[in-house]
């Protein structure tokens, strides 16, 4: 019975075992060299495997540590100055709305909401609204946006849009009733 673990492992491979028996029956220098070579490869393999099975654990821990360290040193600060204080990191983050669309649509097309109305009375009432109110009403009822979309477009909150809308409608209603009566 073979005692040495290396030899044991080496000879459990059937091909190699047969080759060795073959060599024992009919020895030759070539076969001897071949055997020696195969054995060296086998030993090297075993050495590498045992080495890595110990080392990999520590290597991965080291890597994780390194990443944690990097993250704690280089934190992502959105209002940090970049470009020699000319801007913030936040400016570089893409917004939800595509840039070019924002560019063309933001100066909302018209304060001329009153031109929508054919009724002369209504026309006068609406012309008296503030530009902001006209703007909001135009976005909501002519362009057909939702309040949220309008809020994004004008860069204000949804509540603000809603408030302006209610005030404007109330004013129109009051003025209209006053005028008719």
């Amino acid at each position: 019975m073979v005692q040495n673990r290396l030899l044991q492992d080496f000879l459990t491979d059937e091909k190699i075992n047969n080759f060795y028996i073959n060599y024992l029956e009919r020895p030759s220098t070539y076969k001897k060299e071949m055997l020696e070579k195969l054995f060296q490869i086998h030993v090297r393999k075993m050495q590498l495997l045992s080495y890595f099975s110990k080392v990999l654990h520590f290597e991965s821990q080291k890597y994780d540590k390194k990443i944690r360290h990097m993250n704690s040193v280089n934190q992502l600060i959105l209002d940090k100055n970049v470009n020699d204080g000319e801007g913030m990191v936040l400016d570089l983050v893409e917004g939800e709305q595509p840039f070019d669309e924002l560019e063309f649509l933001t100066p909302v097309s018209s304060y001329d909401l009153e031109f929508v109305f054919e009724d002369k009375h209504l026309y006068e009432i609406v012309s008296n609204l503030s530009p902001k109110q006209k703007n909001v009403l135009h976005l909501l009822f002519v362009d057909g946006l939702t309040e949220i979309e309008a809020a994004q477009r004008l860069d204000v909150t949804k509540q603000s849009i809603n408030k302006t809308k209610n005030q404007a409608l109330k004013k129109i209603k009051q003025d209209y009733i006053k005028g008719v009566v």
Partner: protein, 76 residues
């Protein structure tokens, strides 16, 4: 004297394949975002180690066989 067989790509690939389960298990040491990176790092490390790492000299096959025989004789 290093044998060219211990440096070539098939040998490296074989070692890498044998180590795959170990690598996979070791990846749990880090966050999921960094696992692929770690896997790459480890593979790179293994390949460089295969090419450069020096181990103590392996015994020759026939010396070992000879030693075995003597051992067995002693026991008998």
């Amino acid at each position: 004297m290093p044998m060219p067989e211990l440096r070539n790509q098939t040998f490296q690939q074989e070692i890498l394949n044998m180590l795959q389960p170990k690598i996979k298990s070791v990846l749990k040491q880090t966050n999921w975002q960094y696992r692929l990176d770690l896997e790459q790092e480890i593979s790179l490390m293994i390949i460089t180690a295969i090419q450069t790492k020096q181990f103590q000299k392996a015994p020759s096959f026939f010396e070992l066989v000879e030693a075995e025989r003597k051992n067995n004789l002693k026991i008998v």
